[in-house]
Amino acid sequence: AQSVTQPDARVTVSEGASLQLRCKYSYFGTPYLFWYVQYPRQGLQLLLKYYPGDPVVQGVNGFEAEFSKSNSSFHLRKASVHWSDWAVYFCAFQGTGSKLSFGKGAKLTVSP
């Protein structure tokens, strides 16, 4: 089945520390992958997207993600987390149709 899995439901990182949020996908072909962020009581905002090409994609606010076909992964990274990054992060998969299938999300808490 086509899907994405986010194994870490809750992540706590100190402000200024680096961050990695994991995403694993299951798809026979080449997936189109996205990371969205949801701040409290807001909709989903696009952080970055992977369309087949360069495996490392840059997003907004210093986020980047790396696609790995061998590991079926699309992990999100940030070198230095800011308190304003406190939010829920969703990995999403887009197959041959246009709709997105989302992971369960990772709630990021930033500690002082």
Binding site: Y32, G43, L44, Q45, L46, Y51, G97, S98, K99, G105
Partner: protein, 117 residues
């Protein structure tokens, strides 16, 4: 560009009442998607339209839920005889219309929080 606009932001209904949620897509976008978000189920796809035509409603509950897109500037999601389990955040998204396997990015509105008492 105002982005995807959803109204109302919050709606409270009594059990058995009807709820209509509105979505205005980004101008020029021809695809509109509806999702439901709950703590337990996460983000669930409901339905989507391209050029106002229904393309995929595989996520819509078979009873009480319906969606329409009467023109290119808005879509509605209607829930008849609302039940407490319908309480959720309903998100609308739009994209440029991709056909023939071309995938386009979805842009989301802020959602409508529906509470059924």
């Amino acid at each position: 560009n105002a982005g995807v606009i959803q109204t109302p932001r919050h709606k409270v209904t009594g059990k058995g009442q009807e709820a209509t949620l509105w979505c205005e897509p980004i101008s020029g976008h021809s695809a509109v998607f509806w999702y439901r978000q709950t703590i337990v189920q996460g983000l669930e796809f409901l339905t989507y339209f391209r050029n106002q035509a229904p393309i995929d409603d595989s996520g819509m509950p078979k009873e009480r839920f319906s969606a329409q897109m009467p023109n290119q500037s808005h879509s509605t999601l209607k829930i008849q005889s609302t039940q407490p389990q319908d309480s959720a955040v309903y998100l609308c998204a739009s994209s440029l219309g991709g056909t023939g396997g071309v995938r386009k990015t979805l842009y989301f509105g802020s959602g409508t929080r529906l509470t059924v008492l």
